[in-house]
């Protein structure tokens, strides 16, 4: 058993290469703001530029196949890249691209050879960025209840409907979308997935006012939007998986969204909380010497470690193609629960300084205040905790008569 990538001499050389390259290419001013909504257009463009440069080297999606623009690297090298990018407080990709992460992976499983050749290289090389469009007013936890329709008309599909809690403040290139392709067919047998190009006539994007954007990725995504489709005509080529077989594609997409992809990055927010407590004094001593604070910091640490290990396990399982059952939704459930509980620990530890991003009085440059909001909102994207539990119960083999299998990831 080995909890770390085994760094061979060759890989250590690779790390030096990555480190040197990042030093050369990560620009000043790219830092993550406390609230993603404060990410400026300028910062966003810096991140996209960095993404394209990483993509050109195959480091943006390191394990994706080379024939479609990925890096074709093994897990251990992917880990090296992720660790080095993480040391800058950045994720990989360095911008919010849930559609790329989930849509790209789903196309790899369900797309035709031609579709893979057309859609994947721009994603894997950082040329395009993709939003995912799933939720609707009538389709939250019950995703299969989407009402947006895509009706065939010659070589095109005509899309009408409304999606909510979508994307970010700074645009995209494609919209990865689930729709109804046969309004007469049975539930689960009536759906289709599309890659919808941004900017087609009939698409309207309207920002939403939310407590904070949240986001399954945990990375900043800025504001969320409502997207309206009004007779939007999409080439039939952009239908991924067969007409009315969208639920199968969804099984892959949702499997990853529910946490089966795993993660290896540390929780920088917890690191930051510890750092804040070490450097802040109350009654003449660092917060970390206060017995109550110590107790709560250890509570936070223990939960963060469990989340880290679940993510690590899933990362390894996915990349070694191990059979997964309940592990994906379990990681999602535990991560969301601990994120919410962290908001309570912050209240105990920080007091009201954790509830403001005031430049004088806010703790840790407003990062704690941002989590006080984000910890609540992040519980729900990608399936509520209750939905994760429903899936876990099916996978454990108690929720239904026949034990449910995990969605296909390859």
């Amino acid at each position: 058993m080995d909890f770390e990538p085994r760094y061979t001499q060759e890989q250590e050389e690779f790390r030096q290469q990555v480190r040197a390259w990042l030093k050369e290419n990560v620009p000043q001013g790219i830092e993550h703001p406390a609230d993603a909504i404060d990410l400026t257009e300028g910062q966003y463009q810096l991140r996209r530029d960095l993404g394209r440069k990483l993509g050109a080297r195959g480091w943006l999606w390191p394990t994706a196949p080379t024939e479609f623009g990925g890096g074709g690297l093994d897990v251990d090298r992917a880990v090296v890249i992720e660790e080095e990018i993480d040391s800058y407080g950045l994720t990989n990709p360095p911008y919010y691209d849930s559609g790329g992460r989930l849509g790209g992976a789903s196309i790899l499983v369900w797309g035709t050879q031609e579709q893979k050749q057309v859609f994947l290289p721009p994603i894997f090389t950082g040329g395009v960025r993709t939003w995912q469009l799933l939720s609707e007013p009538e389709a939250g936890s019950d995703l299969a209840n989407v009402k947006t329709t895509a009706i065939r008309d010659g070589d095109e599909y005509v899309i009408n409907g409304q999606k909510i809690f979508v994307g970010s403040s700074l645009g995209c290139d494609y919209m990865w979308t689930i729709t109804v392709t046969d309004p007469e067919a049975k539930r689960h047998e009536n759906l289709g997935w599309f890659m919808v190009p941004w900017g087609l006539p009939g698409i309207t994007v309207q920002p939403m006012n939310l407590l904070i954007s949240g986001g399954e990725s945990g990375a900043g995504s800025g504001v969320k939007n409502t997207v309206f489709f009004d007779n939007v005509r999409v080439p039939a080529f952009n239908l991924i998986g067969a007409e009315n077989e969208g639920w199968k594609v969804a099984s892959t997409h949702l499997e990853l969204e529910h946490g089966s992809g795993g993660r290896i990055a540390r929780n920088w927010l917890v690191d930051r909380l510890f750092e804040h407590c070490r450097g802040t004094t109350r009654r003449g001593q660092p917060l970390t010497k206060d017995p109550d604070v110590r107790d709560r910091l250890i509570d936070v640490y223990v939960e963060a470690e469990i989340v880290r290990l679940f993510n690590l396990r899933n990362y390894w399982m996915r990349h070694s193609s191990a059979d997964m059952t309940y592990e994906g939704p379990q990681a999602s459930l535990v991560r969301k629960t601990s994120g919410l509980r962290l908001t309570r620990a912050m209240l105990d530890i920080l007091g009201p300084s954790g509830l403001t991003h005031d430049s004088d009085l806010g703790a840790a440059d407003g990062h704690m205040e941002a989590h006080a909001r984000a910890g609540i909102v992040a519980v729900h994207p990608g399936g509520t905790r209750e939905i994760q539990k429903v899936i876990m119960a099916r996978r454990i083999g108690i929720g239904r008569e026949v034990r449910e299998k995990a969605g296909a990831l390859s």
Partner: protein, 377 residues
Amino acid sequence: MDLALTPEQEMLKTAVRRFVQQEYPKETLLRIASPDDATDDTTPVTPWDRLSSTGWLGTLIPEEFGGEGGSFTDAGVLFEELGRGPVPGPHLSSGVLTALTILEGGTPQQKSDWLPQIASGQMRVAPAVTEPEYGWFEEDVRLAASVDGDNYRLNGSKSFVYDGQSATHFLCAARFQGTGEVGLIMVPTDGPGVASRGLPGFAWNLSEVRLSEVRAGAADLLGGTFAGGWAALERGIAKSVPVLCSFQVGGCQAVYELSVEYSRTRIQFGTPIGRFQRVQDHVIDLVNALDAARWTAYEALWKLDTGREAADGIHLAKVVGSESYYEACNFAHEVHAGVGSMTEYGLTLHTAASRTLYHYLGDPKFHRRRLAEALGL
């Protein structure tokens, strides 16, 4: 990165599972744990001889001392399966904690005298550390050792001694009246002045030991000196904790499997109770506790195997292992309702073990404090 067991470890797992099924059926485990037998320290109900022949008592003992020279992860695999029983006995206290403590602080003579006997099961040693004023800190040790010519005399008592009923020797933590230092003295359980009894009630596998004018020679004192004895024990405990955590993981796994099976087969309101989301909640909380315990334990074992700084991982594993086993049993009782409380069903063996092991080698609060120190807070 590779989180799989090796093929050899998979084979070990299978072999131990089969052994436990054959040698420790539920009826045997219930008999060992029953309060009637526990008050009688001579009842020969325990198949320790068969266990000794497996060589597993020497898993962590180097080959030069008659052991197998296995890794900590090997020991973890072994103890996870024993924990599924849960099988009490000399495994953890003798084969792991005592052996590691002797390796840390024993003289060359003591290592070559004691370790082969521990590996073969001839000597089964239970460390006797805690006392009525319970605690795992050095200052909690009061058992008095005074000079008696070339020998020492021990007077006092040890309570809550784990694995005491299967032991041939106690390794007693004692405070030297001359210097106040705490050392470790090997005492045969049947020697003059030594009396022990199993503790009745919900305590699992715990004994009280009374020592009255017990004589011990210099050769019985670990390392030949009181100085450094406690430090050797602490190092031994630190390395034993993740192995104990694996035992707790095995217990969590066992009650999880019982609960899944019961959810699938128990019919109420005309349907298996596992269809009810209120019941599912308990099973899900249970598996979350199980997996948290499993991966914190494995990571700590891996840190020990690879010579990494392991203190943070060790304390984390015991916090999570103790809390998880405790909670896992509670959730299992929720799933089973009345049936779970019937002793012949077997769940209560785990429930009892989970409470005793919650404290053994330090409770979560103790390890949280140590974790804070390890993190430099």
